[in-house]
Symmetry: C2
């Protein structure tokens, strides 16, 4: 991705936040039939990304173990009007742009067909999302009948992605004076784009 | 993308809505340096997608005219807890899933370097977003000094994508009985995931 220095996100906490808050990744690969993308919730654990696809998804046959994949996690984004910049009235030297945060995880995929590995990854994803959402009322895999769960596990293929590099971008008006950045952050907050507004706040110089 | 029949979105209105409401596309290509993705607002006009990249973005040099690209437009998405299904209490034969809408536009890219073409495309994007946001107070390109605008236009390369096929997916619990779909839609609405809740409402049988 085009990622000039002033937009490059290198803070591990900020990158972690993008992955954590936007778990539905776009998993891109280049197969014999062309570019292919699937939308899958992924979870980061021990420097690996874990997920699963349906057994009926041809991806696990089309893409071999070790194939290069790109997992894209897209954070908040919004159109930014030049009207929002206080400096506009002085110079009018402003144009529209789009602010966003995104993390690109490049790595190598390895498919996991063993029931125990699949069950471990499903459990990892389930616990992560159920606890966040339902706390003590979290749904547990043990809540489903064993035969049904075994059937469901048979219908998926799990995978892990060994991370080679992460490229992240926080495009948050860093090429503007602080007064514009503060004004845009306030405007976004007023419009309900809370996540992006807060990211802009964190990106301001101390 | 894996797209079983019950999730395949074939309604042009629904596909148009995804592109319209989520204009920041992920533009994916396969270059000599591997998989590359850029995040760019795109606009559909006369069966073509239009956008632009920074002149400093190597994409316009790395990807030739006619290269296959994939523009991904991601709509609303949310984790769906098995706790939300009314049928859970009867059978417990339910597992977590993720609901989402997405449109994949496959096509061929053509770069546009002429200032008039670039200006036309910037104007198309600006008008589309400014009018929606600011109505009669919309910022216009003529609001900026001519020399500044010419400088900005020099710093971009525009492109059009000739669409070859669109694959869209509305993964909205269509494999569940209506009572579960209604309950999930209501739960999402209560949690503030309005867009996805409404899409689920539209997807219900008449």
């Amino acid at each position: 991705m085009y990622n000039p220095g002033h937009f490059t996100e290198s803070d591990p906490d900020e990158i972690g936040r993008i992955l954590e808050d936007h778990p539905l990744a776009t998993l891109v690969a280049s197969s014999t039939s062309g570019l292919v993308a699937n939308h899958l919730p992924l979870v980061l654990r021990d420097a690996l990304l874990f997920g699963h696809v349906a057994l009926a998804n041809p991806l696990h046959a089309d893409i071999a173990n070790g194939a290069a994949v790109l997992a894209i996690f897209q954070g908040g984004n919004a159109y930014i009007s030049p009207n929002w910049y206080p400096t506009k009235t002085a110079t009018h030297r402003v144009v529209p742009t789009w602010n966003y945060q995104v993390a690109h995880v490049h790595g190598r995929i390895r498919w996991l067909h063993e029931p125990a590995a699949k069950r471990r990854i499903v459990s990892l994803l389930t616990n992560r999302h159920e606890r966040a959402l339902n706390g003590p009322d979290a749904w547990k895999m043990a809540d489903a009948p064993a035969d049904y769960l075994a059937e469901m596990i048979d219908k998926i293929v799990a995978f892990e992605i060994a991370i080679e590099r992460i490229e992240a971008k926080s495009k948050l008006n860093q090429n503007h004076p602080a007064e514009n950045r503060i004004a845009v952050s306030n405007k976004l907050a007023a419009l309900g784009a809370t996540e992006l507004a807060q990211a802009m706040g964190r990106s301001l110089p101390e």
